[in-house]
Symmetry: C2
Subunit: 209 residues, 2 copies
């Protein structure tokens, strides 16, 4: 088994933190995104979508999506539970993970890819090219700021984003906060709940994954 | 238990088809999106995000996301399996569901909300207002067309999007095809595999849900 990854990229980091929390070690293969290796024929054969992470199983099957990789390992090794126990908890964790992704992670991606020169013509991940739309860069930053406000309010009387422990919803939010630094959006000083939560999650050993 | 829904809206339809496939009946409460009921105080108290579907459990807990609602019922009643059996199948279904959502469903939403007069100032679902960006309407339609081409190729030697049966990945793709008609994107005549698959899924009793 191996994980195609890139040390500084946020999407594979979601899977790496998940694995670290489970205590599972999977050998990684670095795909140098800065050098554009994801678009070169050898990697296109591994994932025609030209994205990472990709998990390659020993039977050759490949799973090419960060959350789908988490689904795989959660099923293989349910504890420590990062996606919930029982219908209600699983559903709430899925809902909050998806919200953090939609309002946070994708908003940062939108801000970055529509602004940075290195993403010119590459406004959307995947095999197809799309031109940057400058209005999206600005909108993305605004959305991230609003996401931080909403999460700060959410965390006023909670230790974790949902449930009574660290879950995949925390992972997505945590990776979003670090990713947002790339577009110069930081947790505001008055967002003390989000700030406290972020210091907590960042102190976990998995944060360096 | 009740499901807040709206008959013609695509997001709640995803949950309704899922329930119909499971043979589970949940009373629905119509939220009239055309009249803007999702923004009025009574519904804001149910979901501050102002979106449907929302599933309200008998204990008062609310789950406000189409896929999270599916997670709930899949756990409660695993068969017929719509999200997979075993780690590998669950992961592949999650990956294809997410791809259909990212490249298909969200692309239609982008095209519609950035074009239709009725969505002026409402380019993104949720409680916050965002102005339309005309370039996104055009980009959204192009993305849907490319998604249809990709799914047509995928279905050349497959009966279903993934696995050996109808799953949540089919549901998302199916709802996307119907939703795309709102932005005047239809399955092209030469996409015979996607056309055949769509006739099949549309003939299922659940398609009227």
């Amino acid at each position: 088994m191996k994980l195609y990854s890139y040390a500084t990229a946020p999407s594979p980091r979601r899977a790496r933190i998940f694995l670290a929390e489970k205590g599972i070690t999977v050998p990684t293969v670095e795909v140098d995104l800065r050098a554009g290796q994801q678009f070169e024929p050898p990697f296109r054969q591994i994932n025609a979508d030209c994205t990472i992470p990709v998990l390659e199983l020993d039977n050759g099957v490949r799973i090419s999506d960060a959350v789908a990789i988490c689904v795989y390992f959660e099923e293989l090794q349910p504890e420590p539970s990062l996606m919930g126990r029982g219908a209600e908890e699983k559903a709430q964790i899925a809902a909050w993970q998806r919200r953090a992704e939609r309002d946070g992670f994708y908003a940062v991606m939108e801000a970055l890819r529509n602004f940075a020169r290195s993403f010119k013509g590459r406004a959307i991940p995947g095999a197809d090219n799309y031109e940057q739309i400058p209005a999206l860069a600005e909108r993305g930053r605004l959305r991230v700021q609003r996401f931080f406000e909403a999460m700060d309010a959410r965390l006023a009387d909670r230790e974790w984003i949902t449930a009574d422990r660290y879950t995949i919803a925390d992972i997505t939010t945590q990776v979003t906060v670090d990713f947002a630094k790339w577009v110069k959006v930081e947790i505001p000083e008055n967002a003390t709940n989000l700030g406290r939560w972020f210091r907590n999650v960042s102190a976990r050993p998995s944060a360096t994954a």
